[in-house]
């Protein structure tokens, strides 16, 4: 997944599949982020806009990678599990984050607290996902409707 993201970042903007909302995405692994309700957590990947003119709030998105066997669950249990994962991702890596990595300060400009535009919850492992697209799309629809601000993807 990391390789995919890095490869996506260097494509021309129009051709990017995941990072098309950034002009110049800067990818950082395991970034310490603080929220009063969840304390210090490490985002698997944090993407931040590089080189925006001063005065613009920097665009920030976070990625949370999960490896979980979802292939054997009934639809209701599958949806419940994914909604729980999505809510957890939003709680820990979404909304407003205090970014603790000093080296990112120059990109943050106005203090270390930034709004996160989108949290991506990514399930890894091709063998672990439901085998039929009909099943997948139906749950992803339900999860994204139930937890706005989180986008669910399967690797």
């Amino acid at each position: 997944m990391l390789k995919l993201l890095r490869a996506d970042a260097v494509l021309p903007r129009g051709e990017r599949r995941l990072l098309g909302d950034f002009d110049k995405p800067c990818l950082e692994r395991y970034v310490g982020v603080w929220k009063p309700e969840s304390g210090l957590r490490y985002a698997d990947m944090l993407v931040i806009e590089e080189g925006k003119p001063v005065g613009w709030p920097p665009r920030v998105e976070t990625f949370s990678f999960k490896s979980r066997n979802l292939a054997l669950l009934e639809e209701k249990a599958l949806t419940a599990q994914m909604i729980e994962d999505a809510r957890e991702a939003l709680r820990k890596y979404g909304e407003t984050l205090d970014i603790r990595r000093d080296s990112l300060r120059p990109l943050l400009r106005e203090g270390s607290e930034v709004p996160v535009r989108r949290v991506r919850l990514i399930y890894e492992g091709g063998e672990l996902k439901p085998t039929k697209i009909d099943d997948l799309d139906a749950v992803v629809n339900a999860v994204e409707e139930a937890v706005p601000g989180v986008e669910v993807l399967f690797q």
């Binding site: 292939a71 054997l72 669950l73 009934e74 639809e75 209701k76 249990a77 949806t79 909604i83 492992g125 091709g126 063998e127 085998t131 039929k132 697209i133 009909d134 799309d137 139906a138 992803v140 629809n141 339900a142 409707e145 139930a146």
Partner: protein
Amino acid sequence: MRVLKFHGVKDEDFLRFTFKGAFDPQAARESELEPLFQVLEEYAGEWMPDVAEGKRQRKYARAAIWKALEEGRDDVFTNLGLYRTKWPALDMTLWLWLPPRPPRLDMTIKVKPLSFFGEAGRCRKFVELVRAWASRYPVSHAVAHSGDDMELAGSPRFGRDEKTSRRDGFDKIYEVFWLNVFGPKLVESVGRERMLSTPAHRVEELPNGCVLLVTWPTVADFASDEAREAQARAHVHLRPDLDLATVLRTLRERSAMLAPVEPRFHPDVAPLLSRVVERTASHARQRRIAELNDWQPPEPEEWLPAEAALPADVKDPERAREHYGTLAEHLVALLHTEVPSVFEETPESLTEADFYFWREEFPTSRLREAIEEHAVPAIGAYLGEVLVRRLGGQWIARQKLEEAQVRVGKRIWLPFVRAQRYMSSRQALLDYSLTQLYRVAERHRG
């Protein structure tokens, strides 16, 4: 009360039904939903759910359902799972979206195996059930068909990207399946007259303006020539822009992809490939069998003729052999919970190990350093130990692991070299399987 796991056994084709509808949020929930369960109880027959689940599982009864709907309530929706404890297996979910969202009533039903619906009577009852639901609740689209064929048809995206497909849903007649309910918008897009004159087993206008269309009396034989012809004729009637010959060809190609293929695997790897095939999703399984029928694993190269053996170069061969034994035990320690047969050190345990590593996508899902440092030595030693124990082989100890050999008859085998090559990729697990090396060593035992 033990619910039958829908995905717990070998993946096979099932009847998939989806219903996109709405309910009246003003009405009391029980009076609004009561007809839904009445209809289910009247028509489901042999696939009737016997367990209802909100948070907890309860024996199916109306009281249990109201309780479950209360428990399954979230701030966004409430949902209910309905299951069975006996065959046929059932995975049924009911969703009610709560205000301020539009009051959607969505259902999915999956019944396995699809062959259960080979009987015209059961199919007729299923159609009556859908007809009753679609007459009582507003519906935009409902469909029932083979889950495998829907997957091959590209449902639910039908060539659109995921986002567009999720936003627009089934907004035009992308495909006609066995049973279809077209909501007023879809009917309007085709024209009511045209839709009602569709050549099909059953076409009926429902009181609320929906149209029920069933292409063929039974669903289990959806792939037969006659059923495909009926499906194609209905589709092109609703989509005059499509050409009958092309639509029919596509449907027949799908039937061919699902037609049973007799496995004729290379005998040395047949036990492993059977496991791989069993694990393959049902819609892809027959193609996988055909592919593996044509595939021949390369002959093992990790051997030397007996006269070319490297002589033992360690001071204490006994200790070296103990070391190989210890390394082999590392594999047992790694695998024994998931692959209990690994204790036996038999050719079958080698196949089990091959399958485990393949299933786990081990070469790519684990850290490369851990594979090189721990997995490869453990696998090589384990393979060597099985050759020793089951084929009367002898270790020829060497200081370097990759030079360690096992003599079996007239051949000298290099198990650590094999393990190294084996762990290089997921495909390598099949190309250089332990299963195959054992079989070849057995044949050359002399």
